[in-house]
C-alpha cells in the first residue's frame, strides 16, 4: 500500500506543479495582501488592548489560512477531473486501495502547502517578523499550518468527489473567501466594535484557526488559543477526511 501511496502522491505533486497558474498565485497573493494591509493598518497597533506592536506580526497569520484555500481548490479540482475523465474507473480496476488514492492526492497538495508556509515564514522574517514562541514555536506553527491544510484539502476533496464537477469546486472559493473576512482576520475579536460582526467572528471556526497561529507569533505559548486552533483544525480535518472517504466509496463502486 505504501508503494501505491507514493506513486499517487507523486502524480498529485506533478499535477499541481504542472499548473503554475495555480501554484504561484497561492503563494504570491496572500503576501501581496499582507504587504498592503500591514502598511495600511499599522496604526491599529496603537489601539488600547491591541496585542502586538507590529501589525505585520499580527497579520502574517492570515496567509497560513489563505494558502490552504488554494490547496482546497487544487485537491477538489483534480479529483473532480478524475471523475469526469473516467480516470477513477481505470484506478478502480487495479488492486489499488481507496485510501491510497485519497492519501496520495492529499499528500501532493499538502507538500505544496508546506512549501508555501516556508515561503511565508521566510518573507515574514525577512521583513522583521518576531516569533514570540521561539524556534519551537516555528515547529508548532508548521504543524498547525499542515493540519489546517489537511482540513481544507480534504474538504475540497469531499466536494470534488461528491460533485464530480470542477466548476462546483471553484464555486466554493468565494464562499470561503467571505468566511475568511468575517473573522478576526484584521482585528482581535475584543476590538471589533460592531456587535453583529463580533458575533459572527466568534462563531466562525476560521477565527480560531487564525488565532491559533497568531498566538504563537504574537503571544508565545497561549495554551487556550493553541488548543482551540488545533482542536478546530482537527475537527475540520476529521470531517473532511471521513467525508471524502465516504464520497470516494460511492464513486468507486466495485464488487
Amino acid at each position: 500500500m505504501s508503494g501505491q501511496v507514493l506513486e499517487l502522491a507523486r502524480r498529485s505533486l506533478l499535477q499541481t506543479l504542472r499548473q503554475p497558474a495555480l501554484v504561484v498565485p497561492s503563494i504570491v497573493f496572500p503576501l501581496v495582501l499582507v504587504a498592503v494591509t500591514s502598511g495600511g493598518l499599522e496604526s491599529a497597533t496603537s489601539l488600547p488592548g491591541f496585542p502586538s506592536d507590529s501589525y505585520l506580526d499580527f497579520i502574517i497569520a492570515v496567509p497560513f489560512i489563505q494558502g490552504p484555500l488554494f490547496a482546497m481548490i487544487n485537491a477538489g479540482s483534480s479529483l473532480a477531473r478524475d471523475v469526469e475523465t473516467g480516470f477513477l474507473k481505470r484506478l478502480a480496476m487495479t488492486p489499488m486501495q481507496r485510501a491510497a488514492l485519497l492519501i496520495g492526492q492529499l499528500a501532493g497538495v499538502m507538500a505544496v502547502a508546506l512549501l508555501s508556509s516556508l515561503v511565508y515564514l521566510a518573507v515574514g522574517f525577512a521583513f522583521g517578523m518576531h516569533m514570540e514562541a521561539g524556534p519551537l514555536g516555528v515547529v508548532a506553527l508548521l504543524a498547525l499550518a499542515m493540519l489546517i491544510a489537511l482540513a481544507f484539502a480534504s474538504l475540497g476533496a469531499l466536494v470534488g468527489l461528491r460533485s464530480g464537477s470542477g466548476e462546483a469546486v471553484q464555486g466554493f472559493f468565494p464562499l470561503f473567501f467571505v468566511l475568511l473576512f468575517l473573522s478576526s482576520m484584521y482585528l482581535p475579536r475584543p476590538l471589533i466594535e460592531q456587535d453583529w460582526f463580533r458575533t459572527v467572528a466568534t462563531y466562525n471556526p476560521v477565527s480560531y484557526l487564525i488565532e491559533g497561529i497568531r498566538s504563537l507569533i504574537v503571544t508565545g505559548w497561549d495554551g487556550e488559543a493553541i488548543l482551540l486552533g488545533f482542536g478546530v483544525a482537527a475537527a475540520m480535518a476529521a470531517l473532511g477526511v471521513f467525508g471524502a472517504a465516504a464520497a470516494l466509496r460511492t464513486r468507486l463502486v466495485r464488487t
Binding site: G39, E42, S43, A44, S46, F181, L187, E193
Partner: protein
Amino acid sequence: MTRFAQVALAVAWRSLHNILTTPAYLLPSLIFPLFFFTAFAGGLSGLGQVPGFDFPSGYTAFQFVFVLLQAAAFGGVFTGFGIAADFERGFASRLLLAAPNRLAILAGYALVGLARTTMVGALLFAVALVTGMRVGGSGVDVVALIALAYLVALAAGLFAAGVAMRTRTIQAGPAMQMPVFLVLFLAPVYVPLDLLSGWLHAVASANPFTPLIETGRDFISGSPAPAGTAYLIAAALVAGFGWWAVRGLRRAEAAG
C-alpha cells in the same frame, strides 16, 4: 438626435441589456462592493478609536467613500471586460463596420460604465444609510461626491477600454484588474493618510487616487476643504485615459 448620440445610445443600450439580463454579470458587480463595505465598515470600525483618527462622521462614512470609489473603479474595469469580450466574440468588428463615427462607440461604452456606477452607488448609499451612516455634508457636498465617483468610473473605464481595444481578448482581464487594484489599495484605505507609516505612506502620498479619496471623505463629513486639486486630478486622469482609449480605438480599427 445627432448620429453620434444615436450610435452611443444604441451601443449603451445593448451592453446594458446584456448585463441586466445575465445574472453572472450583474450580481458580482453589486455583491462584491456590498461585501467589502460590510467587511470594512463592519469589521474594522474599531479603528475609529485609534488615537489621531479624527473623522467627524464616524468610521462607516469613512469606509463608505472608499468602497464607493472602489466600486466605481471596478465598474469601469468590468466595462473593459465587456469590450474585450465583444471583440473576442466578433461583435465589435460588426460595430466598427456599421458606425462610421467610432468615437460614438466609445462614448456608448462610457455610458454603460456610468450606468453601472449609478446602480451600485445607489445600492451602497441605501445600505450605508440603513446601517446608520452619518452624513455631515450638505446636499451640494453629496452631489460633489457623486460627481467624483463618476469621474473615477470614467477614468478607470477609459483605462480598461484602452487595454481591451489593444489586446482584444478576455485573457487580458488581469491586465486591467491588477493596476486598478494596486492603485486603489496603495492608498489610505483603512485609516487617513497621516496615520500611515513607512513605505506605504510614501507611496500613498504620491498616488493620485489618494487626494480623490480624501476629498471624497471631506465631502461626506461636510468639512470645508479645497476640492479643486481633486477635481483637477480626476479631470486629468479622465483626459489622459481618454486619449489612451482613443488611441486604442484607432489601433483596433487598423487591425480590422
